[in-house]
């Protein structure tokens, strides 16, 4: 009998301890990042694997290092990549279907010239599947134009 009463008192005390923790956290500062008003600190994204992008060549930032060797196309498990060779070695079409990509880095690791890398775009949105098929050559030119301005 005394034991049962004591157990109940201990039980009630455990609830008070729990509630006091909840109360303490209620008044502690917010930990979440409220997206449109705040963004994640870019340093913490430095190794984040976002959608692929082409690495600019050393001498011309609008040019890619790609030599159209197709190594990435063959390595990709999801068949996301299309590279069409132009007159020389440089590609004329370089499309990347992000809807199929699993961000596995097989393409990046198999490229002999280091022409591919992961971007750190975390806020990319699209309203249709077609928008997720990216033309990486034109993206590279756009980036170069922005950088030159």
């Amino acid at each position: 009998m005394i034991r049962a009463v004591w157990d109940n008192i201990k039980g009630l005390y455990s609830l008070i301890v729990g509630l006091s923790i909840t109360a303490r956290f209620l008044f502690s500062p917010q930990k979440t990042v409220h997206y449109p008003r705040k963004v994640v600190d870019p340093e913490s994204l430095s190794s984040f694997r976002g959608p692929l992008e082409l690495t600019p060549a050393a001498d011309n930032s609008a040019q890619s290092r790609c030599i159209s060797c197709q190594a990435c196309v063959r390595a990709c498990p999801g068949h996301c990549l299309t590279v069409v060779k132009g007159q020389g070695k440089a590609p004329i079409v370089w499309t990347y279907n992000f809807t199929l990509c699993c961000l596995c880095a097989a393409c990046v690791e198999s490229c002999p010239t280091g022409a591919l890398r992961f971007s750190h775009k975390v806020y990319m949105v699209a309203s249709s599947r077609q928008e997720m098929v990216l033309d990486l050559l034109s993206d590279l030119e756009k980036n170069a134009a922005v950088a030159n301005d």
């Binding site: 201990k10 301890v17 190794s47 699993c102 097989a106």
Partner: protein, 397 residues
């Protein structure tokens, strides 16, 4: 069940009176008592975690029989292994069990390395251990939150997610992703750690130890939780072994069995850590053992990060996309957060493996449920289901 009870699913039409419903329900109904109710939990039910469906026969609030129905999340991972080269198949491993992807990475990479006799460098082994243990902690944390959520406590999962996000931040530095990581490569790992990774990990260990005290005060000592869990769903060692259950479920039943000690792989032999067993084989015992394993993992990480050697992280000429496995067979088992993960690889020397068999611990652990749930209250059956720590993508593969 005798032979006359068997129904050929193709011989029944949907509109055949009392036989309406799907194959599983019809088969389940055949053995039902006249006065019982058959209830279908899931596949879209918050307490069955993912798309698990459980058929239960109820007498009032008591479960007479339960039967899990699987396959809603079957993605043919075994088959995909046969149509991709090993290197291309590797990212699949992060998707089998999204809560402990690194252990699956390890099981497959280990099987390939064993078959091809590849020895990864020492630094890579250390990084593998650190990342795998961090990932184990994050898996247990999520289980802890979701389990208490099943029992009706909504806030604890928010505490668990705070730590889980920190682990994700740490793992993102080396793996590049936050959920379905594909970090291992045949013969090493894909990225080296930097000083930021080491600092964050070192800071995280004492921080989590402090937080575990809060967990204890907030949840473990809570009288409501204890009365919900103590004595519910006992599973003795015998039944665990019969069904092939492994991991915390088996250890809670009193057998100190852990792949990291039983079949040592990598450098786990060099580390000091205890394999706890017990204290009780009910839901509360399984709860305690997982919280204790978080502490074990912290100890391993602490030792590994102190003695992290320098050197390469990947062997020279590491296998790439066009790598052909030598003909032969290999099996590699690792200890995942839910139990023993095994990969059986058979190769005939061709471009793709001949067969890849994935042994998921969740599948064997789930088989215990039908037996443990017999005769319990429905709400207790949910507690038992939660205490098995099921990840449905892993069960279905």
């Amino acid at each position: 069940m005798n032979a006359s009870n068997f129904i050929n699913p193709f011989s029944i039409r949907e509109d055949e009176g009392s036989f309406a419903g799907d194959f599983y329900t019809r088969n389940f109904e055949r053995q039902a008592r006249k006065d019982s109710i058959i209830l279908n939990l899931g596949p879209q039910h918050p307490s069955t975690h993912g798309v698990l469906r459980v058929l239960v026969e109820l007498d009032g609030e008591y479960v007479l029989r339960a039967e899990p129905v699987l396959g809603y999340l079957h993605r043919m991972h075994d088959k995909m292994g046969e149509v991709k080269t090993p290197y291309q198949y590797l990212p699949n491993m992060g998707r089998v069990d999204y809560l402990h992807p690194i252990a699956w990475n390890w099981a497959f990479v280990g099987a390939v390395e064993r078959l091809a006799s590849i020895e990864p460098p020492k630094r890579a082994e250390y990084l593998r251990i650190i990342s795998c243990e961090l990932n184990r902690i994050s898996s247990h944390l999520l289980w802890w939150g979701a389990f208490v959520l099943d029992l009706g406590g909504v806030t604890p999962i928010l505490y668990a997610f705070e730590e889980r996000e920190m682990i994700n931040d740490i793992l993102q530095i080396i793996t590049g992703s936050r959920l379905t990581m594909s970090y291992f490569r045949f013969g090493g790992v894909c990225a080296d750690c930097d000083s930021r990774f080491i600092k964050l990990t070192k800071d995280f260990i004492p921080y989590l130890r402090e937080r575990l005290k809060i967990y204890k005060a907030l949840v473990t000592d809570n009288i409501i939780l204890r009365r919900r869990l103590e004595g519910v769903g006992p599973m003795d060692t015998d039944i665990c072994l019969r069904y092939g259950a492994t991991g915390p479920v088996l250890r809670a039943s009193g057998l100190s069995s852990d792949t990291r000690r039983n079949i040592p792989y990598s450098l786990y032999d060099n580390f000091e850590f205890a394999i706890p067993a017990g204290p009780s084989n009910d839901c509360f015992g399984r709860y305690l053992i997982r919280l204790f394993e978080i502490e074990t993992s912290l100890q391993i990480i602490e030792q590994a990060i102190e003695s992290l050697p320098d050197g390469p992280i990947l062997i020279d000429k590491a296998p790439k996309a066009n790598y052909k496995l030598p003909a032969g067979e290999s099996y590699f088992a690792v200890e995942g957060a839910r139990g023993q993960i095994g990969v059986h690889l058979v190769s005939d020397g061709g471009k793709n493996p001949y067969r890849v068999k994935l042994r998921s611990p969740g599948f064997s652990n789930l088989s215990l449920f039908a037996e443990a749930a017999k005769g319990t209250l429905l709400a207790d059956a949910i507690a038992i289901l939660g205490s098995l720590d099921l990840v449905i993508p892993e069960v279905d593969r």
